[in-house]
Symmetry: D2
Subunit: 463 residues, 4 copies
């Protein structure tokens, strides 16, 4: 519930012309829609030129039969984006398609570069102009500035840019998949018939009927062209897969670097139930973020699970300014309590994380208003104390309740009878990777890369 992911991407390299390649990308983007709901786009190459269509809104809003039919070809990349709204934000939608010395170039990108601003300043000093405020344009400029060998250019690119990036680069006859040397963001490869697919999450492969092949390795550049698939490893740094992909971002039915997201969440809930046991009648999830961990908690304790909170699915995308009375309802607009279930019960309330605490406070209050005898908040990840510079829009540090308050103060703030967070060790155990292969910076403050002085998403727009 608390944080917003920035971007999902999907590419296809087909060994033959495919009139419906854009439609396949389209269906794949649906499976990644949870990673970005502000804009969507698809670019397709038919070996001669690159065409594209992009727009603001959900995948289903941006595309229609006609603009998909206009996009036929052999290679395709698609993107869904979380971004700021604003009059010109269409400019920042992806794929970014540009012309350069060797023809056309399309870039889609998930992540966040921490030295994009410096690179950009450097390029501007040389007279480069920029049309957007995205990292992707910096990436395209660096590719264009290198020589004419695309793979060589991509290698130089990875030596220049720093930060988190999973990245697809398409020219008229090639598709490159690049994952940063730390492997912050997921990226995996699948296939169907005579086509390769690269996607942010394995669930997107399932949706379009592709078989999972393998993950792209941290620091790997995978090249798809008429010779098939080849690979080069540009550098090896400490792997630092973002733990929040397991905690919140990724779909439960995805498998990232060999780990099932569902199982990780379920185990997190189960371990949490051991670390912070409680005498209660009912386990209630904050839907949908707490759903899987709640089942794990229930399975770990034998306390039955019940849908004590019901989500109003459709209300999410209204942009209407509510009246004061409606605004005062707060989270009630989005969540209803199942009174008959909750009344008179001791409740374990499970969510994946707490960011600012205001929503959790309203939920606890709603449950008590509906007769809950007690509400014990259990969180299936450790306290989030530090901002993320690698592609996630957590609030700024001072808004993070756990950066300023201890557990008891948080308990008071949210009005719960008890609060228990999963330990870092518990979470790492649930995921089942070595802790040194994970980025845990939002819990520990130990950033795998030196954080920028003021690494702000909107830096480019602010000057």
């Amino acid at each position: 519930m608390p944080v917003k992911e920035a971007c999902g991407l999907l590419g296809i390299y087909s060994s033959r012309m495919d009139r419906s390649i854009a439609k396949t990308v389209y269906y794949g983007l649906f499976a990644l829609q949870h990673r970005g709901q502000e804009s969507a786009g698809i670019a397709v190459s038919d070996l001669r030129s690159i065409k594209y269509h992009k727009g603001l809104g959900l995948v289903s809003e941006v595309f229609d039969e006609k603009n998909l039919e206009d996009l036929t070809g052999k290679i395709a990349v698609g993107h869904v984006r979380y971004s700021t709204t604003g009059s010109n934000s269409l400019n920042n939608a992806q794929p970014l398609v540009v012309r350069y010395h060797s023809g056309e170039l399309a870039v889609v990108h998930n992540g966040n570069l921490i030295n994009a601003f410096e690179i950009r300043q450097e390029l501007e000093k040389k007279g480069f102009v920029f049309h957007t405020t995205t990292d992707s344009e910096v990436i395209a400029a660096l590719i264009a500035k290198s020589g004419t060998d695309l793979v060589e250019s991509a290698i130089q690119l990875t030596e220049k840019i720093k930060g988190a990036y999973s990245l697809l680069i398409m020219t008229k006859d090639k598709l490159l998949a690049v994952r940063d040397p730390h492997g912050f963001r997921p990226l995996c490869i699948g296939s169907y018939n005579d086509a390769y697919v690269v996607a942010s999450e394995s669930a997107a492969l399932d949706t379009i009927g592709a078989s999972f092949m393998r993950d792209v390795c941290p620091g790997e550049i995978v090249v798809f062209d008429k010779s098939g698939m080849s690979t080069c490893n540009v550098s090896v740094e400490r792997k630092s897969l973002c733990i929040f992909e397991f905690v919140y971002f990724a779909r439960p039915d995805s498998v990232i670097d060999g780990v099932s997201v569902y199982m990780a969440r379920w185990k997190a809930g189960k371990i949490l139930s051991k670390e912070h046991p409680v005498d209660a009648d009912l386990v209630v999830a904050v839907p949908d973020s707490g759903n899987v961990a709640a089942i794990g908690f229930s399975d770990g304790t034998g306390i039955p699970v019940g849908m004590g909170l019901i989500k109003n699915r459709y209300i999410g995308r209204t942009f209407i300014q509510p009246s004061q009375r409606i605004r005062n309802l707060g989270v009630k607009l989005k969540l209803s309590v199942l009174k008959e279930l909750v009344n008179g019960k001791k409740i374990v309330l499970v969510d994946d994380s707490i960011v600012r605490g205001t929503t959790m406070s309203q939920i606890v209050n709603m449950l008590k208003d509906c007769g809950a005898r007690s509400v014990h908040v259990r969180v299936s990840s450790p306290p989030v104390k530090y901002s993320c510079y690698f592609g996630i829009d957590t609030s700024s540090r001072k808004e993070l309740i756990a950066s300023s308050y201890d557990i008891e103060s948080i308990r008071k703030f949210v009005g719960a009878d008890s609060v228990g967070y999963l330990s870092i060790e518990g979470l790492v155990e649930a995921v089942g990777m070595k802790d040194r292969d994970l980025c845990l910076a939002c819990f520990t403050g130990n950033y795998p890369l030196k954080a920028p002085r003021k690494g702000k998403k909107y830096l480019f727009e602010k000057r």
Copy 2:
């Protein structure tokens, strides 16, 4: 999963002018969006005249800040509709607003009249013309044909029309709520500040911060005007509340005629587990229709529940013609299997009902492909054997698998290791009402009202 509901409605009578009355209706309609997703509309009276806006699509697509701000007043009615698509279907969107001898009239309607065609023919013989193919226009015509006393006209209306209807009638200074003498469809009353609210489901009251007062009784006409709320009972017939509101249609957080929908579904799952026990490792729900019953089944047996099927939430509203390869994926586009969870397990698969059986067959197949050792289908309602004439778009009778096949044939068709349906008695027990107060016709064929020879939704359009 199987059937489509036709319409949700909500009305407000405020004792003072309310600049944001349409916005309140708007938020209330979100809570009813599951009852109809094809068109939405709101009409508002400011005591002098009635203004309205309606359109095709979801509530969030039909309304924007501007058209809501144009709708200020004291009385309002809103509607969401399931309907056929077609070039002129906007015509059939509600509210229906017409002018008649006593001024303007707005009608919103949930249900299905079984003698609308006859009444319409009768009126056409007298020279009446019809602009739409809706029951609502027949209702408006009958109101207009009566005298000038609105309540008296409404009484005459209920004597003339037969079938299922929950109905709001708004004039410039009055709001009437009418529920048919059998009470087929739900309708309830709430209040906030100095306003009354009438809605199809109590969950809509919660969403806009109104307190539940009571259900409208079968055969009752409730009048809201400057004197407040008054009531008249026009006739008493056998109550016949539609059982499918509990099985599938209504939101789990609604309470209908005193019964919690969630609790009814949970009990149905629990009773089902007693009627058709099975040795298994995991209870899996078909999301979202089987979610609550699956928990009940788990609680009744101790077999843990797991999210073995994941719904692709966003794919629901695409209108793009898929390519052949994508079309062959079938239900895979909409549901993913959680392989890690399912593999090697004996699965109990729970859904609320089976209509044609094709989807269930695909799901069973998917689970087995992912390594399920066995799949035992459990259905939390009895076999649906008969068509509905009272407002629900079940398929025609010959498409209903249970109307032609016995349980063993259904088991073979869906490819399951066993199939168990809840008994009628079990379902009635779960709901907790007397069976004579419920319409069970889709299971029994005993219609509370004589079914029309060929009671078709599109009758008007077909001649």
Copy 3:
């Protein structure tokens, strides 16, 4: 320039199925666009049912390839409308398509009934409801109230309704063209290949490549069906063709009841030059309304014509609220003076009519600002003193400058050096019909039909 016409219509009866019948109507409506720019619509019958599409805006804005392709059939009617804007005015767009005892009915209408309100009240007393505020719905209701013989119903219709109407009525297998017994509004018949065409103006026939056959006679009902074209004359009253069709409304390239609109305007200008000669250097038209008469004036006097006023063609359809400074520019936004041409000259300024006088006053002022030595206003029709009840939206009587002021006062008001109006005799001579065959009521106040007490366009909407 001064008055607004209400509606143009066009119908086609083809003896074979025509996939592009709606496209032909579409192109024909372009030629009638000057008669109404607020909404457009086309309905088509394929002998089985009637489909239609209509919308607010210009013909080119309402239709696209897709909605035209959906409209294939044998019979078609189209309409362009001048109407009030308003949230629900789409409701009032034509064709009006309704269902009645004998099937479907489409009506398009040009004109104004003076007893529509009374008929409507009468019908409402019988319980009829009305969805729109148009005369067309009253016409449809009367047709539906009659028996099942369509021609008989049309005859009864003409006996009931009073006022100006040129009218097309389409059922699934018939097309009727009706012109009121006074023949207020034009209506003519043409043909191409094996199709008949009926249109408001002959120019529309030319545009779609149809040959002119003849005008529909006043009081005639022309029937097109599988037997071909037949006719019945329902009544003979004094013909009263609206003189303003020649003065302003109709296209110059139309021929109405045997008279070329262009030639009538040219002669009006020439006769005007004899009635009100003036010593001047240049004849300048107010574009486009004065264009033809200006040439006539020039030809009558030998004074050369010059485009001293240039129209800003594109500015007409902006709905942007101008800033105060721009608003103060007034008619300057729409007209520019050709300074080089006007400077130092004695100008004859020709327009077809003066309604309120404010625009003429601004134009005279602009010309003088640009150095015109004198400006002599010449108007190619007599002073408009009386309101029209027969389909033209002249301002209400008190806004008509000539109803309150004499010529000298008008001269002072507009700031001209002289003002000369064409005499009634002059105008009648220019048209070349007998004056008793023309409606001259806006000049004389002698209405061919008794004017309603308060015959207001918006009467229906005001109660």
Copy 4:
């Protein structure tokens, strides 16, 4: 009628913040709409940053109240464009707004660079990427590549680029107006209250109530900033004002470099009547391109002018694919003959130019079909024999009828009784400038600048 102009532009520098500056630009762009109807855009600086809105279509289609209100500031530039349609052509709409080392930059441009492709290749070799296929992006890149002094950068720019350009460059606090050293395209300065206005044509100044001050000189850079207006002349080359601005492009009410467009056209028609006299009854213009010259011809001969051809104003912007029968009508869809006027007459048919001859041939044919005894074609400019590389989309040379055929062959092709073109000397006399100050290349083939090998508009898109 024959050629299509590429672009109109307008800029405002106001000495104070102006909430309605974008609205003023909006109204000014209406007056320039004839110069480009494919896209429109406005950018505004409020001294802190630049905001913009642009879109495909007419000015009235691109802008609404809301997007104009979002654009408040002190400096503004606007643009209308003739361009190719295509899925991504919005990309090529102007203003082009980019970020560079010194902040933001907006560019609007009218004309055509003949060395843009070479410059672009040069820049691409240095790693520059391009998002559009416009000259404007090349201009922005050159500005960005120069140092930080904007005026100095503009001077360097004019030394680098070759071809025709009238150009506005806006930064957050400055507006620069640049006209190429040959002065191919017009550009003029006006003022209102405390604001300066720069526009492609003086008619746009009139429309928004600004007073004409002077033309921008060829090779001049005019700077508007907080110090007011200043100027620097960068170079002096032979002036080469495009003669076609007088022949066809510009509005008749504009004055370019001291010459009234109307008077030039009128004189052209008059001189034409002396060069190619004819015994005839009526002078008919091809509307609207021949309107003014036809009056001149009439005034030169005493033969009366008559509107023998009527333009169907609204049909211009349909994008509907016509049926075969409609397509066969050809120019009849767009032009109607006034039969009554033409029948039996000897006609002088006047147009400004003939490009391919097909339209003229159809018109002559239509006139003869309507009874014209003879048709004498008179063209108010010399034969167009050579392509233009300086911003006008004439057809390629081989499509120009006069490049392959002599007058007698053209006469036969169009089916006229005689054809007479104005001589080059006659046209130059009509304009009243020295011939060495005009670009007459389309008549003579003597290009002021060496024509590029294959100087094609779409060069960038074709590789």
